[in-house]
Subunit: 183 residues, 2 copies
Amino acid sequence: MADPFIAETRAILERTPGVLRALLSGLPEAWQEGRDTPDGWQPRDVVGHLISAELDDWIPRAELILEHGPEQPFPPFDRFAMLQRDRDVPLDTLVERFAELRATTLGQLSELVADEDLDRVGHHPTLGEVTLRQLIATWAVHDLDHTAQVFAGLSAHYDQEVGPWKDYLGILLRREDPSAVPG
Amino acid sequence: MADPFIAETRAILERTPGVLRALLSGLPEAWQEGRDTPDGWQPRDVVGHLISAELDDWIPRAELILEHGPEQPFPPFDRFAMLQRDRDVPLDTLVERFAELRATTLGQLSELVADEDLDRVGHHPTLGEVTLRQLIATWAVHDLDHTAQVFAGLSAHYDQEVGPWKDYLGILLRREDPSAVPG
């Protein structure tokens, strides 16, 4: 039986641009101001970070594994590159830029990776030995993690508007205290 | 200047069905099995809960505030009604059912609530006095909170697949320990 891993992973990777577009495209600016935590990221920062990862992370690392295996460690990845690079770019433009990049990287994934490559090994500078399968799985969960982060940033706009209901809204409580449990 | 509150809130409420459709429609079943926490909800439970709230919560409570003010407390809301009611309903059907209900409730919101009603007061059985404005704000944040919960449920499918990268993926770490901070 064929390994469903690549098809299943693509099912998430293919959806993320449409999810971000459905959520963020044309959204009033007031919703775009909040951060997922007081020192955290606005939705635009999250989309910018996803853009950075499409450019510098997933496909370059897959290529490194396939070409050099564990002998050449992954180069460092700048988690904050977007803060300068995308400073004046409107959120809608960032979402479309991400969608274009994702279409490209999904094409590259098809060309680069077959089932029999998934156990090939690379070297992560802090995590040590990792497989191509783990890299591709992480790509999908990284999408889910950061898209969820956008929702936390959006919620900040109504932190006060909900009044006493805040006690029941974990997404607001956790912005200030990660261990908070809704009442 | 007109109060932007209702229009801003609608901007979130209108987007949620499309976001859930973009994320969940046709998603392979393996992604649908996970829960946001070990005892938590699968994506289908979250969508079912959102359906319950469209039926029994937001509009009925708004009507109660407008018709009776604080004299008639909100009736209790069953947070688990979907577990039996939707047991055999496919996820795609639940998403479309939610989208239909949301279109209806947004129409009701337009008919029922004007800016000058937003300060009217109702009585919540445990929170006490609440305003219509707070109720409607909570409707939007409740959408954001539960949609984010869907992402956590989806991520569970790759809890092991990501290997050592799990240390960096808060969405996985928090499923087991709400206070976990990614490395």
